[in-house]
């Protein structure tokens, strides 16, 4: 059965709307249910801190949302602190925990983390380091996974001096899942609190706050079908945090600022759906991802999968395919795919659009050239078999062209580039 095409986009012309969106790890399309819940709330007045009926109604929405999120993550409602997103949650956890722990005992000057954390954690750590903290970024293996022995060693060298441990639940670039429960077990033996950035994990793999025992957990709405600009730090009640934002003391006196009730409602709707649908979702998306990997390596035989080759859910996020195309510049590949309506990413690090080689790949032992030649395809709830088909169709000619442009252009020795043109 054929339908008349009314827009040129639908014909695959590459215009807006026709894009094959394989960048869910950067931002995931919102669930229609989350859009509906959020927009409905946008039409209502009321500051959740106001005492009148409208205020109470708004407050109720916020508190119900808090309960929904807590339920989905197996946390208590009082443990959910709303923030503006992942970056703020990471900053609050890392700085807030460090300051409060340090205040309680000035010997606690060390922070243990990994070399593959998101920049929201890494840059917070660096900022603290410039102000006297001793930051130890523990190495990872070739899959990007923390080796527990090094953590144990680092703690046992002087447990009294460790303020906190922060280890991401799953890596945003290569999708490697970290042994968070084991990290908690090791740290808690010495009474050291653990923060985890679970931005990429929630809705993809099982995340159980209470069962894992982590003390603080970062999540954000727009990676799981909710709106951009809202997130949460789930913090155990007995954990003291020094606030970053001072003011009305709205969120447990830890985070001030009028909470964004419409965004929070959209966030809660998305978390609930993402967690509820997760088992079916993960199986479907992992199958698509595996199919993508198989077919890409058929048409580009020298393509290499970065990260854990064991793609089971305990090891790798279901939607993550991080592939190195030897001899190609990741930027060239991205641009050529973009021109064909296929959207992906070269990595997470980006300042003013100037690509830097991924710190994650470098930490995993890649050299700079290898680190520059990779693309991240991240699949999600809107991904279809047709999307994978489009990528598989496009990738071989794109790789061939990018290879002709070479990886040396703009980076290598000065000689060859001019010779051909000039």
């Amino acid at each position: 059965m054929t339908h008349p095409t009314t827009t040129p986009d639908a014909a695959g012309g590459g215009g807006p709307g026709a894009e094959v969106y394989l960048d869910h790890a950067a931002s995931t399309p919102m669930y229609p249910e989350a859009i509906a819940a959020m927009t409905e709330q946008l039409g209502r007045v009321g500051n959740p801190s106001s005492l009148h009926a409208s205020g109470r109604a708004t407050r109720r929405v916020v508190e119900e949302s808090r309960e929904t999120i807590a339920r989905a993550l197996n946390a208590r409602p009082g443990e959910v602190v709303f923030t503006s997103g992942g970056t703020e949650s990471d900053n609050l956890a890392v700085k807030g925990l460090y300051w409060s722990r340090r205040e309680a005992d000035p010997r606690r000057s060390r922070i243990l983390s990994t070399s593959v954390e998101h920049h929201a954690v890494l840059d917070s750590l660096q900022w603290l380091e410039e102000r006297g903290a001793e930051v130890e970024l523990l190495p990872v293996d070739r899959c990007g996974r923390l080796e527990l022995g090094t953590l144990r060693e680092a703690i046992e060298r002087d447990p009294e001096s460790v303020a906190l441990v922060t280890v991401m639940w799953a890596n945003n670039e290569v999708g490697t899942v970290q042994p968070v429960a084991e990290v908690v077990e090791i740290a808690h033996r010495h009474g050291i609190p653990v923060h985890t950035d679970a931005v990429q994990a929630v809705g993809q793999i099982p995340v159980d706050f209470a069962a894992t025992g982590v003390d603080a957990l970062t999540l954000t709405a727009h990676k799981l079908g909710g709106p951009i600009g809202v997130g949460a730090l789930v913090v155990r009640r007995e954990i003291a945090l020094t606030p970053l934002l001072h003011g009305g003391g709205q969120e447990r006196d830890v985070r001030s600022g009028t909470v964004d009730a419409p965004a929070i409602r959209g966030f809660a709707t998305a978390v609930e759906l993402a967690v509820k649908r997760r088992p079916e979702y993960a199986a479907r998306v992992a199958a698509l991802r595996d199919d993508l990997l198989d077919r890409v390596s058929e048409v580009v035989p020298d393509a290499v999968l970065n990260g854990d080759r064991d793609c089971s859910l305990t090891n790798r996020l279901p939607g993550n395919a991080h592939i190195r195309f030897p001899g190609c510049e990741g930027d060239s590949l991205l641009m050529l795919l973009d021109a064909r309506g296929i959207e992906c990413s070269t990595g997470s690090a980006c300042s003013a659009g100037v690509p830097q080689p991924s710190h994650v790949l470098l930490a995993m032992g890649a050299d700079e050239v290898a680190a520059r030649s990779a693309l991240r395809f991240s699949l999600g709830h809107t991904t279809t078999e047709a999307d994978v088909d489009r990528l598989v169709e496009a990738i071989a000619p794109v790789v061939e062209r990018a290879r002709a442009a070479g990886i040396a252009s703009g980076f290598g020795p000065a000689s060859s580039a001019t010779a051909k043109v000039g």
Partner: protein, 375 residues
């Protein structure tokens, strides 16, 4: 055609990209990141190299409706342009980094990558005109707006490079380009023109060189001598702070005996000697240059044309000869006989050769001397 528009964040390159798109080309905008650690905001009158400029370019691309990317050319730019600039100064010459950038980056590294990626041409906001001549070769001519003409800094482009270049502004006057930018809703319409050297943010070339060159220069300080008597008139803090023909900043305590101003005549970086003397000693009529780059065919006969010896400099009537294989590097030497003498010609600068408005080619000046006595 598939066109890659290099967008600095300034008004010219934005309008050039818009015109290329309007001509019906399939245009993609790119901003070249030339610094590893770009400053957040523009300072002074520079039109590139900060994150703000990159954002300006991005906004212009949005308004035009073309895709936009940032290409990291910082390492190549550092190697080919910044390092070369420092070396040239350290060796007592006066380089032009804009020519170098056009030769090595914009119309080489960028163009080559663009062609490999499937583009047909690179468009820039330079003021120069391209025409196809009777012989089928692409000719480059001076821009209609002589005040903005940039054919000098493009004099290094070869036929192959010109064939893959677009200069949509060559027929326009600057004020019209600004008006057009405004009409098109480009927010960069009123952005000031960029001047000076993009990678020296405060415009203090001497201070920048002092900081960067540091110990690299064999003789950091040295003597300032009179050309006739050899008398030491003063000292200086680095030959790279001087350029031939320079009058200001000599810091010689006492005036010359005849009371006339003194100019830098010669720079000798190995001994660190800067020689000064009266203006007439700067007068030259014979220029030797090497490493020629021809826009089209190499002139076989002596060419009666004009030469321009510095950016925004005058045109000098001259006879130009190519002497195959006789340059010091074994390549072709270009010999320029000026019909009227000129002053303050510095080795390292480019001599760009014109036949009327057409650019014939360019070469790097190695020596400038006086051969004839003029009436």
């Amino acid at each position: 055609m598939r066109v890659l528009a290099a967008m600095s964040g300034g008004v010219d390159s934005a309008v050039a990209a818009a015109r290329a798109a309007e001509m019906g080309h399939d245009v993609t905008g790119i901003h070249l990141a030339l610094s590893r650690n770009p400053k957040s905001y523009r300072t002074g009158a520079r039109g590139c190299c900060t994150i703000e400029d990159s954002n300006d370019a991005r906004r212009a691309a949005d308004v035009i409706g073309i895709p936009f990317y940032v290409w990291d050319m910082s390492e190549r730019f550092h190697e080919d342009v910044v390092e070369d600039f420092m070396t040239e100064y350290a060796e007592g010459r006066t380089p032009n980094p804009c020519l170098r950038c056009n030769e090595k980056i914009k119309f080489a590294a960028v163009l080559e990558r663009a062609l490999a990626l499937g583009f047909d041409a690179v468009a820039t906001g330079h003021y120069a005109r391209l025409e196809t001549g009777a012989d089928g070769l692409v000719e480059m001519h001076r821009a209609v707006d002589m005040g903005k003409d940039q054919s000098y800094v493009l004099g290094v482009l070869t036929q192959e490079q010109l064939r893959a270049s677009l200069f949509p502004l060559g027929d326009s006057r600057k004020e019209d380009v600004r008006t057009e930018a405004e009409r098109r809703g480009l927010s960069v319409a009123k952005k000031p023109d960029s001047h000076d050297i993009c990678f020296i943010s405060d415009g203090d070339t001497g201070g920048w060189l002092q900081e960067k060159l540091g110990e690299r220069v064999p003789v950091a300080s040295g003597e300032i001598r009179d050309h006739a008597t050899g008398e030491v008139l003063g000292t200086h803090e680095g030959t790279y702070r001087y350029t031939i023909g320079q009058r200001k900043g000599l810091r010689i305590g006492r005036p010359a005996q005849d009371g006339r101003p003194r100019f830098v005549l010669d720079i000798e970086p190995v001994s660190g000697t800067v020689t000064v003397g009266p203006r007439e000693e700067l007068t030259v009529d014979h220029i030797a240059a090497f490493r020629p780059r021809w826009c089209g065919t190499v002139p076989a006969e002596p060419l009666e044309g004009t030469v321009q010896l510095r950016a925004h400099g005058d045109e000098h009537r001259a006879t130009v000869r190519v002497s195959p294989g006789s340059a010091r590097d074994g390549g072709d030497e270009v010999v320029v006989e000026l019909h009227e003498p000129a002053q303050g010609i510095a080795p390292g600068q480019a001599a760009v050769i014109y036949d009327g408005t057409r650019v014939v080619g360019s070469a790097t000046i190695t020596a400038a001397t006086r051969r004839r006595r003029h009436a």
